[in-house]
């Protein structure tokens, strides 16, 4: 086993020279998580907007459920997606298990509740404020939703970023449905989890460093967004 000092040195070297193995893993991570978040946005934003605008019986139960889903443990999501995609499962014939698509699906399911819940709250608060004024101007239901989505865009982007932060950092779901197969489904978190135990400390540390920087960047972006939106009074 390497000693820690040389492992750190090697980790920095891998990052600085853009080691191909490391870059491949980071690229796959970004591809999987970004795709998952965009897909989750396509599903989650309309759900959030609909929950904010439409009154129906059982709505408060749906809201409680949605908020509970925000705390879904990734391993549980991974397990459920695994069961659905495994050979005997209902989606088994698609042959998606242990592919990046399976990981995208799992992370998407993980992120949808976050985006839906945050956008529901944001849009509903704004609707309380805008509703009568927009109706007085003659805006119909569809125009209302479009206006709310547009005027809430900074907060909604913040929700998407938070979702990305969660997706890129989770390990439980992708390890179950992806399997950490080298060159195929190995992403940053699964590599860290498994390479550490195999003794490849340098690679794990290098990936950990990048993950850390990513997390900080996402948070900085969220804060910067909030600040610009606040300054321009779009918040």
């Amino acid at each position: 086993m390497q000693d820690f000092g040389s492992a750190f040195g090697e980790a920095f070297r891998l990052v600085v020279v853009l080691d191909p193995a490391l870059v491949e893993i980071v690229a796959l991570s970004l591809r999987v998580s970004l795709t998952a978040v965009l897909a989750a946005g396509l599903v989650g934003l309309p759900i959030g907007a609909a929950l904010a605008v439409v009154r129906f019986p059982g709505r408060s139960v749906a809201l409680v459920g949605l908020n509970a889903l925000m705390g879904l443990p990734p391993v549980v999501v991974g397990l459920l997606v695994y069961l659905a995609l495994s050979r005997a499962g209902p989606l088994g014939p698609l042959g998606l298990l242990y592919t990046p698509t399976a990981m995208i699906i799992a992370q998407m399911i993980l992120v949808i509740p976050i985006i839906a819940a945050v956008s529901r709250q944001t849009i509903e608060d704004m609707k309380d404020e805008y509703d009568e004024q927009l109706r007085a101007l003659g805006v119909g239901p569809f125009g209302m939703v479009a206006t709310l989505l547009w005027d809430a865009r900074f907060s909604l982007l913040t929700a998407m970023l938070a979702g990305f932060g969660r997706a890129v950092a989770e390990v439980g779901a992708v390890i179950i449905v992806g399997g950490n197969i080298n060159h195929v489904t190995r992403v940053m978190t699964t590599a860290i989890a498994l390479e550490t135990s195999k003794g490849d400390l340098a690679l794990a540390l290098g990936l950990g460093l990048i993950l850390l920087v990513l997390a900080i960047t996402v948070n900085a972006a969220v804060m910067a967004l909030r600040r610009t939106a606040g300054h321009a009074s779009f918040a």
Binding site: E129, Y130, E132, Q133, R135, A136, L137, G138, V139, G140, G143, T147, D151, A232, S233, F234, A235
Partner: protein
């Protein structure tokens, strides 16, 4: 998109009839909430022309009445009609509504006005000039590019009125637009409303400020406990109110 209409002349373009909303008529309008009757069989017609001030103590139902007339809430009993027909969303831009607390969209001042014009179906090429005209009329041209929500309270209210007027409505309904403003801002609003009225816009103005009512009103509707206690020309209302409630209110001894 609807064809653009020249509302200022009151006529239509070609054969297109102008969408009319006046007179606005409420007949037998009642509103009940939680076992209380908040508006009690109110009959009121707002004809084109005069500046009507709707007065009454807190909780009399002034805001509710204005909202019902603007079709923002449905009466539980009775009916509201615009120019003889049921209110329709398509005609909403012909009726400008200004709330006590201005609601500003998260956009620049001019984009707030452009938005209203777009909803009203004004063609894109006309929106800029009409929005600028509306802002200039409110003395806000300097602030056109500022985010609407950082404007002062008085500026926001002037912008709300400019936005309501930009679609060239037949009638402007205002719900205590100066309630939170200082005397200078209040006078600026009164001036803006008076100019709109002189330019031909019918006005209904809710206030419980007697001085303001004296300055503005052609006629007064006095509301008390959800009923119209008195509806009279302003001079007559102030000189010799016929209802006990109105007399008490003018003398400053009305208990709601």
């Amino acid at each position: 998109m609807r064809p653009s209409l020249d509302f200022a002349t009151g006529g239509g373009v070609g054969d297109q009839p102008v969408d009319r909303v006046l007179p606005i008529r409420g007949s037998g309008v009642s509103i009940r909430r939680a076992g209380r009757t908040l508006l009690d069989r109110v009959d009121l017609t707002i004809e084109p022309g005069p500046l009507t001030v709707i007065m009454g103590p807190n909780g009399a139902g002034k805001s509710l009445l204005l909202r019902v007339l603007a079709a923002l809430i449905e009466p539980d009993d009775g009916a509201v009609s615009w120019a003889g027909t049921a209110p329709s969303r398509r005609r909403a831009p012909r009726l400008g509504f200004v709330f006590q607390k201005p609601v500003m969209l998260r956009r620049s001042a001019i984009d707030n006005v452009r938005y209203a014009l777009k909803v009203a179906g004004v063609p894109r090429i006309e929106r800029d000039s009409r929005a600028l005209d509306a802002l200039a009329g409110a003395g806000l041209d300097r602030l056109a590019g500022s985010p609407a929500r950082v404007l002062s309270g008085g500026e926001q209210q002037r912008l709300a009125i400019a936005r309501a007027l930009a679609t060239r409505p037949e009638i402007l309904l205002l719900d205590e637009p100066t309630a939170n403003l200082d005397p200078t801002a209040t006078l600026a609003i009164e001036d803006q409303v008076r100019r709109a009225h002189q330019a031909g816009t019918t006005v209904a103005f809710v206030t419980h400020d007697l001085g303001q009512a004296r300055r503005l009103a052609d006629q007064i509707v006095f509301l008390h406990q959800g009923r119209i206690a008195e509806h009279a020309p302003a001079a007559q209302f102030f000189a010799q109110p016929s209802s006990e409630a109105a007399a008490a209110f003018i003398e400053g001894r009305l208990m709601p």
